[in-house]
C-alpha cells in the first residue's frame, strides 16, 4: 500500500469508536498534527493480535502534535510537542 501523506502534511487522527487491540491512544484521537516522517509499512497490529497475518501492511508515520493542541490545560511553553507513531488508516488529510 503506497503511503498517502508527505512530510509536512496536516493530518487529523480519527476519533471513531473502536474495540479490540489498537495502538492509537485515546488522548490523541481527534487531534490534528503534522507528518514528521514516514517510517515504512508494517503489518497491522489490530489483526496480528488475534492470530491474523496483519496484511495488508499499513504505512506508518510519526506525527507531531503541539501539546497545546492536545491538552486544554497544558502548562508548558507553546513549542512543546508530542511525536507519536500512527498507522495510515487512522489518519485523514486536513486542510
Amino acid at each position: 500500500m503506497k503511503p498517502l501523506y508527505p512530510i509536512g502534511a496536516r493530518v487529523t487522527v480519527s476519533d471513531r469508536e473502536t474495540t479490540g487491540h489498537m495502538r492509537t491512544p485515546t488522548y490523541i484521537r481527534g487531534k490534528t498534527g503534522m507528518i514528521e516522517r514516514r517510517c515504512g509499512s508494517f503489518r497491522n497490529p489490530e489483526t496480528l493480535a488475534y492470530g491474523g497475518n496483519g496484511m495488508p501492511e499499513q504505512p506508518l508515520y510519526r506525527v507531531r502534535f503541539l501539546q497545546h493542541d492536545i491538552w486544554t490545560n497544558y502548562l508548558g511553553p507553546p513549542q512543546d510537542t508530542v511525536d507519536i507513531e500512527i498507522y495510515q488508516h487512522w489518519l485523514e488529510r486536513t486542510v
Binding site: R23, Y27, G40, P45, I70, D80, T81, V82, D83, E85
Partner: protein, 207 residues
C-alpha cells in the same frame, strides 16, 4: 524527594507463588512437548543480561567525538549500532538528538516499549502508570521529579513509542569535557539520559 506513600507494591505471597508456579508449569510443559529446551531459555537470559546501558553509552560517546558517526546515528540508529558491533536483532532504532533548542523524552503510554536490545530491560518506573500516563501530558513536571530542569526557551519533545520504532536519546555533551577520551566519556552517559529523564552527568558528578 519526600513521599508519603510506601515505596513498592505490597506483595501477596500466595498470589506471587501462583504466578511463579504458572511460569514454571508453562516452561516445563513447553520443554516436555519439545517446543523449547532449558538450554535455549538459559541462552536467551544470558543474551539479555549482556545488553545494558553501557552499549548505548558507547554509541553516545562515539557520536560526541565523531560528527560523521553522529550523522549516521541520527539517520539510521540501527545501522549505527551494528557498526559498533551491537546486534539490534531487527530493532528499528530512531536516535533523538538533544540540543539547546530541543530536549527529548521517551515513553510508551500503552505498555513498555523500550530499546531493549540496546539498553537491556527497562526500569520499573518506566513501565508503571504514573510515568506512562504523565510523561505525555506534563513532561516538565516529570523531568523536575528527576531533578532535570529544562528552560522554557528549550522545547520538550515527548516521543510515544506506539508502534514499530524504538527510541534512544542522544544527550547533550557536558561542558568541560573537551579532549576527553571516548572511554571516559561513556562514564558520563547514564541510562536515564538515554531515556531523556536526565541529562548526561557533569564531570564533577562522576569524578
Amino acid at each position: 524527594m519526600p513521599h508519603d506513600h510506601p515505596h513498592g507494591p505490597v506483595v501477596d505471597p500466595q498470589r506471587l507463588a501462583h504466578y511463579q508456579d504458572m511460569a514454571t508449569a508453562v516452561r516445563e510443559l513447553l520443554v516436555d512437548k519439545g517446543i523449547l529446551t532449558k538450554s535455549q531459555i538459559e541462552t536467551k537470559i544470558k543474551e539479555m543480561e549482556d545488553r545494558g546501558p553501557a552499549l548505548g553509552a558507547r554509541m553516545v560517546a562515539r557520536a560526541w567525538i565523531d560528527s560523521d558517526y553522529k550523522a549516521r546515528l541520527l539517520t539510521d540508529g540501527s545501522a549505527a549500532a551494528e557498526e559498533l558491533g551491537i546486534p539490534v536483532d531487527g530493532t528499528k532504532l530512531i536516535v533523538l538528538e538533544n540540543t539547546e533548542e530541543v530536549h527529548n523524552l521517551v515513553v510508551c503510554t500503552l505498555c513498555s516499549c523500550y530499546p531493549r536490545n540496546i539498553l537491556g530491560l527497562p526500569p520499573d518506573w518506566y513501565k508503571k502508570r504514573p510515568y506512562r500516563a504523565r510523561a505525555v501530558k506534563e513532561p516538565r513536571a516529570i523531568l523536575k521529579e528527576f531533578d532535570t530542569i529544562i528552560p522554557n526557551s528549550t522545547s520538550v519533545r515527548v516521543h510515544d513509542s506506539t508502534a514499530d520504532m524504538r527510541y534512544l536519546v542522544l544527550p547533550l555533551r557536558p561542558e568541560g569535557t573537551d579532549g576527553w577520551a571516548e572511554e571516559d566519556l561513556t562514564k558520563l552517559v547514564c541510562r536515564d539520559s538515554m531515556i531523556g529523564v536526565r541529562t548526561a552527568k557533569e564531570p564533577r558528578e562522576h569524578f
